[in-house]
């Protein structure tokens, strides 16, 4: 099998998996087996692409040509392979997790909500199948983003990803979900069309091509104020990178079922955004060109502001998922910052942070989901003392949080290290201070959760009942977390540690992108 066939398969396999899922919709066991097999097959394919790329191969493939001279083309290059590896591996884990999550305790209220949408009404299987269907399509779109051979292809799959995740976000069809859906689509679509598309056409008008090339296609062709403006249009236009003020869609997307939040809104969708930013900086502008023109300095500070402000907002959020979402907003800007530093260390750090943050944040979301289905608690303030009941979950949460903060022995330490070094090399001492401050902030707002869990005093809550709050919560009412889900949590938490000891593959890929 040639490498370019593998590229095609990386899109076709999830899509075909979706079709099989649809066919098997009345048989949950077979359907979930099919999901796992598809995810495993996809990871194998991506692994083989990785093996080809790591020896310097660059398989490519042209799918179609909508506009003369601007084909929809796929090409595997190191950065894309890194992203695809992370996304496809975590898809396997998420599938495991969902199996436990969705079946675990079908009568738990949150599950009932999910099931009601997936649902307990009469066409329940159809709706559940629809959920897996769009999920698989979204993964196919993510693969398209990862292996896009030119800016146009990237844009196409970026939009496809927005549209295929919309049904997942609005899955419960409640008024809240409809509202969130409007924000989600509104922000992502508006930024992508008004800024990103404008920037793409502009790039095409200047450079006459949209291919990703080492060293960029704009260097030597654009000059003056056009460069910072264009770069700004890209950074804000890629709304999935959630650079403030275009971040509102991410907390809004938290109405989706937790597996969706975990894979799509901690890994696939948001990483597609920052991945696109990195791609544009490296292959469209070229980091040397950006560094020489100083076009990115103002954007560094936008990213820095997002890092700090989102951390501060995270502090104020009591809902666990929303707090994690704001943490994601903050962490995404690390990658944007790495790209804007426009030096080798910054790009390596940004690229590695895509991987490291993915593993860390998905662990946190998995834990949040398990807490919800085991205890029906969604607010941070309700978690005191829960760590003693759920030691594995809170332990995993602790490791994941360490990785997000960037402390050894977790993978997050590496990416933060490179980003810090990159800032120093760019001569931006201020940014180093920002990174330190933000790590401190995230340390506080994330560590609060496991620490309260282990050491806090559980609160019996008569006052809450009196306040007429939702009464599903009866304090001691506790269900053992599903085994499949726990396996997924342990996998990702262990992976965080392994990535500290063995970050080699990701580092090698990134040095292939940015130069040694």
């Amino acid at each position: 099998m040639t490498a370019s066939t593998l590229l095609l398969l990386s899109l076709a396999v999830p899509a075909a998996g979706a079709a099989v899922i649809l066919l098997l919709r009345y048989n949950p066991n077979a359907r979930e087996a099919a999901s796992l097999v598809t995810a495993g097959a996809l990871f194998t394919i991506v692994l083989r692409i990785y093996l080809a790329v790591s020896v310097g191969d660059r398989p490519a493939l042209v799918l179609a040509e909508p506009i003369p001279g601007i084909p929809i083309a796929l090409e595997a290059e190191p950065l894309g392979v890194l992203f695809a590896l992370v996304a496809s591996f975590l898809w396997i884990v998420t599938t495991m997790y969902s199996i436990g999550y969705m079946r675990g305790h079908p009568l738990r209220p949150e599950i009932r909500d999910v099931m009601a949408t997936l649902g307990i009404d009469r066409d329940r299987e159809k709706r559940q199948a629809r959920f897996y269907l769009f999920f698989a399509f979204a993964i196919a779109a993510v693969m398209g983003v990862a292996f896009a051979g030119n800016l146009f292809t990237l844009f196409v799959f970026y939009e496809v990803l927005t549209l295929t995740t919309f049904p997942l976000v609005t899955h419960s069809r409640s008024e809240a979900a409809r509202k969130a859906g409007r924000v989600y689509l509104g922000v992502l679509f508006t930024t992508s069309v008004v800024f990103q598309l404008l920037a793409i056409v502009w790039t095409y008008a200047i450079a006459g091509t949209l291919d990703f090339q080492d060293g960029g296609i704009l260097s030597g062709r654009a000059a003056g104020a056009v460069v910072p403006v264009l770069l700004g249009l890209f950074v804000f236009g890629i709304g999935k990178a959630a650079v403030m003020p275009f971040h509102r869609w991410l907390p809004a997307a938290m109405v989706a079922p937790t597996p969706v939040s975990a894979l799509l809104h901690a890994v696939a969708v948001v990483k597609a955004g920052v991945f696109a930013v990195l791609k544009v900086t490296v292959y469209i502008f070229g980091i040397d060109f950006i560094a020489a023109t100083g076009a990115s300095v103002w954007l560094m500070w936008v990213a820095a502001a997002t890092i700090i402000l989102a951390s501060l907002v995270a502090f104020t959020k009591n809902n666990l998922k929303v707090r994690l979402a704001y943490s994601t907003v903050s962490q995404l800007s690390y990658v944007v910052l790495g790209a804007m530093l426009a030096n080798q260390l910054g790009v390596v750090g940004g690229g590695m942070h895509i991987a490291m943050h993915a593993f860390g944040k998905i662990t946190l979301f998995f834990c949040a989901g398990v807490i919800i289905i085991s205890t029906n608690r969604t607010e941070v303030s309700q978690l005191k003392g829960l760590g003693r009941v759920m030691p594995i979950t809170f332990g995993a949460f602790f490791i994941g949080a360490l990785s997000i903060v960037g402390l050894p022995p977790t993978g997050g330490a590496w990416s933060k290290w490179f980003l810090g070094m990159g800032s120093l090399e760019a001569g931006q001492i201020g940014l180093v201070a920002v990174l330190m401050l933000s790590s401190l902030l995230s340390l506080v707002y994330l560590m609060e959760i496991p620490l309260q869990g282990f050491f806090g005093r559980p609160r019996r809550a008569p006052d809450r009942d009196a306040a007429g709050e939702d009464d599903h919560d009866h304090g001691g009412d506790f269900h053992t977390p599903p085994r499949w889900s726990m396996a997924a949590i342990i996998t990702t938490a262990v992976a965080c540690v392994i990535l500290f000891l063995y970050p080699e593959p990701f580092y090698r890929l990134m040095t292939m992108v940015a130069g040694p």
């Binding site: 506009i67 146009f152 939009e159 069809r173 859906g181 069309v193 008004v194 404008l198």
Partner: protein, 495 residues
């Protein structure tokens, strides 16, 4: 043999089939004849396009009277392209009409419906194919008069007032065009387009030519519903039978835009239009206002057919905007959008026709939860809507791409024009998504018996929907034709 008579057959075939429909009396038989005729028309249009692409301009002298004395039918790449658009839509909408019309038009009027429909097709094809300006007027009136009759066949009585209003405004527009043609004739003594193009430069300075230009411009803009001369359009589209709306929205205004391009670029010439008359400076603000204001109005409509009608006025603005760029890229965008908008609005109005067929209304409140009840219909609406918005992999994206590229090529303040195009795409998303949200994210509350539309409606609808996707994914050939046509228009008719 027959091949050399293709240009006249293009027009005569539907013209002769129209009265036959009346004599047939049987609705099904008349429908079958109309389908057959429209498919032959498409076959002829396609072979004309192929001939033009391979051998260049095809000239046909009616009755063997050599032009410029006799009437000439003259097919070059530009009108071959428009012929294909009109014939394609005709070929798709006609089979759709058979089922749709049965539910919306009085049974004994159905043969008359097909007669009027075929006459309308005749008129539109005639305007496009002829090389004689007075002939344009004649065909324009054939298509318009039959259109008034078709619109008046709508179910609700407001169709009558809408048709009457269209009749008054349309006739005024047509009369303006006759005045313009007359003044041109006074100055040059000819009605043949190629001849006019050759003779006009000698008399450019005369005030009469400029007045003629003005009359023709206003007349054509009335016909193509350029803001603020669009007032007839929303009601006409909203109250006409579904099949008529789908047909008219995809063809009538397109042909009028073609006529505008033909008159102002081929006959008067690029130099006269843009440098002497400042056509671009007149059209640019009108187009922008049309795009912005009509998109805004569309957002607040509750009748989805009306919503799309206002959107049509905005989309016509895009076409005129491309023209106002006065560049090959801009014109390519205009010509592509002629085709692309025909595909998307055709698909959308046909999907709405399916809804009307089942629930008798396209009020937004009536469409609650339809996504589950009529999945194929609403999926067609979603794809058509995305195409209207200009999402990649649909045709709408391709034309928008060229439009923005055209604006950016000009640089400077035109950046703002590009921004307006993009912002209005978001507005399009808003009005399309209102319907999508209602249809998919709410529960159906209407009659339990409502089910999916019949295949006879769905197949033509989906044919256009798939065309939206196909030409959005593989647009190389079609862009090449559009660019060729744009270049031909910029050069002028003589060469």
């Amino acid at each position: 043999m027959i091949a050399e008579h293709l240009p006249i057959l293009q027009v005569v075939l539907p013209l002769l089939a129209a009265p036959v429909c009346i004599f047939l009396r049987n609705p099904r038989a008349a429908g079958a004849l109309a389908v057959l005729t429209s498919w032959s028309a498409l076959g002829i249009a396609l072979s004309l396009l192929r001939e033009v692409m391979s051998t260049g301009v095809v000239s046909y002298a009616i009755g063997d009277w050599a032009p410029p004395i006799g009437i000439e039918y003259r097919v070059d790449i530009v009108n071959a392209w428009v012929l294909v658009i009109v014939a394609t839509i005709g070929a798709v909408v006609t089979p759709y009409a058979i089922t749709s019309v049965e539910s919306e038009v009085d049974r004994k009027r159905i043969p008359l419906f097909y007669a009027a429909y075929l006459l309308c097709l005749t008129g539109l094809l005639g305007i496009t194919i002829t090389g004689d300006v007075f002939n344009v007027f004649v065909f324009l009136e054939i298509s318009s008069l039959s259109a008034y009759a078709l619109i008046a066949m709508g179910q609700r009585r407001r169709a009558l007032t809408a048709a009457f209003r269209y009749l008054i405004m349309g006739s005024v527009g047509a009369t303006f065009i006759v005045i313009g043609i007359g003044l041109l004739y006074v100055m040059t003594g000819t009605l043949n387009m190629a001849d006019l193009a050759a003779l006009l430069p000698e008399v450019w300075d005369s005030r009469t030519v400029k007045v003629a230009y003005g009359f023709l411009g206003v007349g054509m803009c009335l016909k193509l519903a350029l803001f603020p001369l669009h007032l007839w359009l929303p009601n006409a589209y909203a109250f006409a039978p579904s099949a008529v709306t789908a047909f008219m929205a995809s063809t009538a205004t397109k042909v009028a835009v073609y006529m505008l391009l033909r008159l102002f670029l081929s006959i008067f010439g690029r130099h006269f239009s843009f440098e002497v008359m400042g056509l671009d400076l007149i059209l640019l603000p009108l187009a922008l206002v049309a795009i912005v204001s009509m998109s805004l109005v569309a957002i607040f409509q509750v009748d989805v057919k009306r919503l799309l009608a206002y959107s049509s006025v905005a989309q016509i603005g895009y076409m005129i905007l491309g023209l106002s760029f006065a560049s090959v890229t801009g014109l390519t965008a205009t010509l592509l959008h002629l085709f692309n908008h025909a595909l998307m609005k055709g698909a959308l109005f046909m999907a709405l026709g399916c809804v009307v067929y089942r629930i008798g209304s396209v009020h937004i409140d009536a469409m609650v939860g339809l996504g589950k009840r009529m999945p194929y219909t609403m999926a067609a609406f979603v794809v058509g809507g995305l195409s209207l918005v200009g999402v990649p992999l649909t045709v709408g994206f391709v034309s928008k791409w060229y439009l923005i590229l055209g604006a950016l090529e000009k640089g400077g303040l035109w950046m703002g024009v590009a921004a307006i195009v993009l912002v209005t795409s978001v507005m399009a998303l808003v009005y399309v998504w209102r319907v999508v949200e209602v249809a998919y994210l709410r529960d159906f509350a209407g009659d339990e018996r409502v089910r999916e539309a019949p295949w006879s409606l769905l197949v033509p609808t989906w044919a256009l929907v798939l065309a939206n996707l196909y030409f959005g994914i593989d647009a190389v050939r079609i862009s090449a034709v559009a660019r060729g046509a744009a270049e031909a228009l910029m050069i002028g008719i003589g060469s």
